[in-house]
């Protein structure tokens, strides 16, 4: 069920991001979502891409990359939609490491990505409460 995210580690230096993105851009891989967390020294680039395994191969061994499972929840296109999701997590005392949102033109929807410790339990909770979850297949289309 969970969505697989590609994370890469880059130095917080001029040109490092474009260098990393360049290696996957020379193919037909589509970057559906992107978020960066950074410190003074480094950045962690998190991406949801159309073909993750291919993207990781293209990055090669010289770029530190990792695949993480995250939860992608579809949001209603109206006010308070994000809060409803966050509130649900909070009530269940699920700790959120980071989050970001993206929209998909094909699915005509907005998604919020949740990075949690227990993906399975979080998905079970959210679908139980009637939220619609995205799958890898939907996103890579």
């Amino acid at each position: 069920m969970a969505v697989r995210q590609l994370s890469i580690f880059i130095e917080n230096k001029k040109g490092r991001l474009s260098e990393a993105i360049k290696s996957i851009s020379e193919s037909d891989i589509n970057i559906r979502a992107l978020s960066i967390g950074d410190s003074a020294d480094y950045g962690i680039v998190r991406m949801i891409v159309s073909d993750l395994d291919k993207a990781r191969n293209l990055l090669g061994e010289n770029i530190l990359s990792k695949i993480t499972s995250v939860v992608a929840v579809k949001m209603d296109d109206k006010g308070g939609a994000l809060y409803k999701i966050l509130r649900t997590l909070e009530e269940a005392e699920i700790n959120l490491h980071y989050t970001y949102a993206f929209t998909s033109s094909k699915q005509f929807g907005a998604y919020v990505v949740l990075r949690v410790d227990d993906v399975e339990a979080t998905e079970k909770l959210l679908s139980g409460k009637g939220f619609e979850l995205a799958t890898d297949e939907e996103i890579s289309e």
């Binding site: 130095e11 950074d38 410190s39 480094y42 998190r46 770029i63």
Partner: protein, 435 residues
């Protein structure tokens, strides 16, 4: 004003000093040979007997001691007397792999403190002074040495230890300290802190400072002298020989007089071990002439230095050493703490990192900084920043435990630190420590 703490010996003629050294070395070699099995074996291996040492000119026949020997002998292997005769232990900065533990009898403590007293008097100190000791107290020899020296002089001693600058300044002002003893970088920091609080150099009562335990330049001396409105004097020593006070600067502020009635100095070629003539640059070697508990003979300091015996305007006759001009090993002195790159490597390996790292040392606002680039491996990479920050914190804490000072850790992607085919360059020292 008193000019010398022990005038007879400090201004003794060359002949008198040599006579003292001759007597002491013969006795000392016998003492060490009889009581220290490790050194006896070294002498036997070299085919030297105590009776071969008839005077100080025979000292070159003796084997050297190196830091590795001290490590091998930890803790009691070089002890030359019964433990019950010892009254004190001091140690080099908390560094597991390279720790040196030095033992002192009361006689050893006294001679060490007398050496420090000579330094204090040379800096213009007397029983009318208030000596603020802002070196670290504890196992580190800085605090204990100058504290004892100030007592011997009869000065009022402020045992501040290092740090807590707010309190240093309060005591300095309220109790009117006249002599400050600390590392030069801390002195510079105190000067800056005073300025930040709106004090002018003439607002304090300080007249002199005795600064050592780390390398410093003439520029730094000038900055400290102007910032505090004092005369700044250098002092030299190491735990292996006793602590600070082995050598000290006089009013000339040009080189440090070695207390050669207690410590005999030689300059050798670090590669061949050959003794070099006066005035030539080489590695400084010390022999403790009359210490009882931990008497190192021909100890290689790894400090590169020059000895000179010209006439000094202060009237002291003892040989002078210049400020150390570098090291013949890879040891770094950072905030007064001895750091070996190998220790940093040990911590990295213990904590599961690769031995690929770069050490950057710099001096910012007169304080040494230590930054270490460390490569992150695939298994260690987390997409969660908090995890990586936790990693940096944990590694910095492990470094602090090993080194005694905390570095700033920088995680870098794998294979970004340059690989070298020959001798790897692991250290970039951007400080300008030597003129």
């Amino acid at each position: 004003m008193q000019r010398y703490y022990q005038p007879d010996i400090e201004t003794a003629s060359r002949e008198e000093i040599v006579k003292i050294q001759n007597e002491k070395i013969v006795k000392q070699v016998r003492h060490v040979y009889d009581n220290v099995e490790y050194y006896r074996n070294l002498m036997d291996k070299k085919g030297v007997k105590p009776e071969d040492i008839k005077g100080i000119e025979d000292i070159h026949k003796l084997p050297f001691l190196k830091k590795d020997d001290l490590r091998e002998c930890y803790p009691y292997g070089l002890l030359a007397t019964d433990l019950k005769n010892c009254v004190r232990i001091q140690s080099t900065s908390g560094t597991t792999g390279k720790r040196v533990v030095a033992f002192y009898t009361q006689h050893d403590v006294d001679l060490w403190e007398e050496c420090c007293a000579r330094a204090i008097v040379a800096a213009g100190g007397s029983d009318e002074d208030v000596v603020q000791v802002a070196y670290g107290y504890g196992l580190f020899t800085g605090g204990a040495g100058l504290h004892g020296g100030a007592h011997k002089v009869g000065a009022m001693t402020l045992p501040m230890s290092s740090g807590n600058t707010e309190r240093q300044i309060q005591f300095m002002m309220d109790l009117q300290s006249t002599i400050l003893c600390c590392t030069p970088s801390y002195a510079a920091f105190i000067a800056e802190s005073l300025k930040d609080r709106g004090y002018k150099p003439e607002d304090n009562k300080l007249k002199a400072g005795i600064f050592g335990a780390e390398p410093w330049t003439e520029e730094m001396r000038q900055a400290i002298e102007e910032g505090l409105g004092i005369k700044a004097y250098d002092i030299y020593g190491l735990t292996e020989t006793s602590g600070p006070g082995v050598a000290f600067e006089c009013s000339e502020q040009k080189g440090m007089h070695i207390n050669e009635d207690h410590f005999y100095a030689e300059i050798i070629d670090p590669d061949t071990g050959e003794v070099l003539p006066e005035g030539e640059k080489g590695e400084l070697v010390f022999t403790a002439l009359d210490k009882e508990a931990f008497p190192l003979l021909r100890y290689r300091t790894r400090d590169i230095c020059i000895l000179t015996r010209g006439k000094c305007s202060c009237g002291r006759t003892h040989v002078k050493m210049c400020k150390p001009m570098g090291r013949s090993d890879d040891m770094l002195i950072i905030r007064g703490v001895n750091v070996f790159p190998s220790q940093i490597e040990t911590v990295l390996l213990n904590e599961g990192y690769t031995p690929n790292y770069m050490i950057y040392v710099d001096r910012k606002n007169n304080t040494d900084t230590l930054d270490i680039d460390v490569e992150l491996s695939v298994d260690q990479f987390s997409d969660n920043i908090a995890d990586l920050q936790e990693r940096e914190k944990k590694l910095a804490a492990a470094m602090r435990t090993m080194l005694g000072i905390g570095p700033k850790i920088h995680l870098v992607p794998p294979k970004t630190i340059q690989r070298s085919e020959g001798k790897a360059v692991r250290v970039v020292d951007n400080r300008k420590l030597h003129d």
